[in-house]
């Protein structure tokens, strides 16, 4: 456990500069976007109500009040999230390859450590999950700031004071990264964890068998995806409808995902202990 924590801390420290830079980019772009939309809205209100042409009530009968939800649908808010998602997906590969590709083959030292090699695997996996969950967590904290900014600048009469939680759970985009229910959170991020484990195994195939390893890795990833989709595909092909009930499907697919995770971990352990070369 101590070795695992040391390795995890090591991974966090190694990526922290890039990670904080990514956070700075994401949230400064979002912040600029929030201000831009607030001032655009205020300018629009001013133009429409200039010289008493419209009362606030008349304005609101024709236009929406301004709230967090207005910000959620803007490119300035969504593109930074996309940058974060792409950045973390790239990091899934980067976290392994930089150990081989750097000037000094750092993987030498890692593999020679007097600890189980799977600790390296678990540390990298935990680092990725921690970065993903923290990024989304910080996004939630920044929503509090955005809401406060909206309250400071937009007069109450033009404001939609939807709570942060309500705005998040009813936004189709944010709902993807922040599931509305705790149960959905475990399902969504559990699937994400399984996907990262499969990709790690594929990377280890490539690192173990070089060129032909790319093929093994791809085949393994495709095989895992096909296995996961099998219950759905078989039902639709055989019965042209969903033959299994939702609870049965959930149990079956959970069992398949757990199976994929176990096989991936065992395969990764085998590859790390016997095949991976520097």
């Amino acid at each position: 456990m101590k070795n695992y924590l040391k390795l995890l801390n090591f991974e966090i420290n190694r990526f922290s500069k890039l990670y904080f830079l990514m956070l700075a980019i994401i949230f400064s772009v979002q912040l600029i976007s929030v201000f831009y939309h607030i001032f655009s809205y205020l300018a629009f209100v001013k133009m429409e109500t200039k010289g008493g042409r419209m009362t606030p009530e008349q304005f609101l009968a024709e236009h929406f009040p301004f709230g967090l939800s207005n910000v959620f649908y803007t490119r300035g808010f969504l593109i930074p999230i996309l940058i974060g998602v792409v950045g973390l997906i790239l990091y899934v590969f980067f976290i392994w390859y930089r150990d081989w590709m750097a000037r000094n083959t750092f993987i030498y030292r890692l593999l020679m450590l007097p600890t189980s090699r799977m600790n390296i695997f678990y540390a990298k996996l935990s680092a990725i999950m921690l970065f993903v969950l923290t990024t989304v967590g910080i996004q939630l904290i920044f929503l509090v700031l955005y809401k406060k900014i909206i309250e400071w600048f937009i007069p109450v009469v033009y404001r939609d004071d939807l709570s942060i939680t309500m705005a998040v759970v009813t936004s189709p985009y944010l709902n993807t990264i922040v599931p509305a229910h705790l149960s959905s959170f475990f399902v969504a991020y559990g699937l994400g964890l399984a996907a990262v484990i499969v990709v790690f195994t594929a990377i280890l195939f490539e690192r173990s068998f070089q060129l032909v390893g790319i093929l093994y890795g791809l085949l393994y990833a495709v095989f895992s995806f096909v296995l996961f989709s099998l219950p759905l595909v078989v039902q639709l092909l055989m019965f042209e409808t969903l033959y299994l009930y939702a609870d049965e499907m959930f149990i079956l697919m959970t069992a398949i995902v757990i199976g994929i995770i176990v096989v991936s971990l065992l395969t990764s352990r085998y590859l790390l202990n016997h095949k991976v070369s520097v």
Partner: protein, 413 residues
């Protein structure tokens, strides 16, 4: 410890942010308006099995479906993960059948119109589609004996149905089953009129065969605003069937030059224009036209074997009328004042028949007229009147009015 500072900070931030969010998300329905059914008059036990589906929204960004029963309101987000992913919007009747008869219900359509139940049987009807076009190639009936769990299947090979055909009702009785299908023959896109027939298929359990279908032509009816209804004299022993077609029409304003009517004026000008009323003798297959010699009609809600029942709304309130097919006389069963509220014919949900009781849900978008009315079609009397009431003023945090719809009512076992 300092060595681990980044790891600790990231972990704490992550845990605090997510925990606070899910604690809030768990309590989110506390801020929602809840509804209950308040009995105004009649026997409260009549609503014991009533389930109403609705949804509410406060702006473009919030939407929350819910279910209302005599025990109160349950929002979708209060249900379990499995309930949420297993087609939350499907009928409660189908949900109950799936719970009690898992094997029989496996892989079947979740439309409640495709099912009928008796004390001993569950009957399911559905189409089998052709591989080469979208027309139903066969009509399939599956029955399950609840006592023996014996399953039987019967098939009509060539039902002569078009692409747009829908199973509207399955009526099961001790000896057999009727399947009523609405069949769109032709659509005139210039006038937006559809030529429609209702095909009635009969299957007798003891013979194990289908009779020739009874085809009831309803002529051409508009694609929009139309209403088609179907009633039997007695669901436990059907001998006659009534099929009605018509539309919710609007009277031409006296002063056409005054421009578009207001919403209130439009509602006042609504009337029911019944274009076809057909009586079907289920034994002989004879179809006779019924010409109503009165304009005192309304939304058709039932047929008691002698009289057609309608619910009419006008300035004086709501009125249940009974039109005697033989004597061609209309009697008013019950009149209910509406206290100046605006009620449109669009505010009535599909009437529900439960034995001799007819349930009507009135879902007026404006005002407080959201109510459940139950009449006994044989005794011709109002046996229940209840109001759907919110536990507080229906408004969101900004004081804007929330829009609440009660979309569908069901009676479950």
């Amino acid at each position: 410890m300092k060595k681990y500072s980044k790891l600790i900070v990231l972990t704490v931030v992550m845990l605090v942010a997510w925990t606070v969010f899910y604690v809030h998300a768990h309590q989110i329905t506390d801020s929602f308006v809840r509804f209950s059914i308040k009995t105004i008059e009649g026997d409260e036990s009549l609503i014991e099995h009533v389930v109403i589906r609705g949804d509410m929204s406060s702006s473009n960004f919030t939407y929350e479906p819910f279910v209302l029963t005599k025990d109160g309101t349950t929002f979708m987000r209060e249900t379990s993960f499995i309930e949420r992913i297993s087609d939350y919007h499907k009928s409660e009747k189908v949900k109950q059948l799936q719970l009690k008869h898992r094997q029989f219900m496996r892989g079947k359509n979740v439309n409640s119109d495709n099912y009928a139940t008796t004390d001993d049987k569950i009957v399911y009807a559905d189409f089998i589609y052709s591989k080469f076009n979208f027309d139903p190639e066969k009509v399939k009936i599956e029955t399950l004996d609840k006592n023996t769990n014996e399953k039987k299947t019967a098939v009509i090979d060539n039902p002569e149905l078009n692409t747009f055909a829908y199973i509207e009702k399955v009526i099961a009785y001790d000896e057999g089953v009727y399947v009523a299908v609405e069949n769109y023959l032709d659509t005139d896109y210039e006038t937006d009129m559809n030529e429609i027939t209702w095909n009635i298929y009969h299957y007798e359990f003891s013979r194990g065969t289908f009779d020739e279908p009874i085809v009831v032509s309803l002529g051409k009816i508009p694609s929009y605003n139309n209403i088609t209804q179907f009633f039997v004299d007695d669901e436990n022993d059907p001998k006659e069937m009534i099929v009605l077609a018509g539309l919710i029409d609007y009277a031409v304003p006296e002063d056409e030059a005054s421009g578009f009517p207001s919403y209130e004026e439009e509602i006042v000008s609504e009337y029911i224009n019944l274009s076809a009323i057909k009586k079907v003798d289920l034994k002989t297959g004879n179809v006779t036209d019924i010409n109503m010699e009165t304009d005192q009609n309304g939304i058709p809600v039932g047929y008691n074997g002698k009289e057609l029942l309608f619910i009419e709304r006008n300035a004086a309130g709501l009125h249940y009328h009974a039109y005697d097919i033989e004597t061609k006389k209309t009697t008013t069963i019950v009149s209910l004042p509406l206290e100046g509220a605006i009620v449109s014919y669009w505010d009535f949900s599909e009437p529900i028949q439960d034995g001799r009781l007819i349930y009507t849900l009135l879902n007026s978008e404006y005002g407080d007229n959201k109510m459940i009315l139950v009449i006994d079609e044989k005794e011709k009397e109002l046996v229940y009147k209840g109001a759907i009431e919110p536990d507080r003023l229906i408004e969101n945090r900004n004081g804007d009015e929330m829009i609440v719809y009660f979309n569908e009512m069901e009676i479950v076992d």
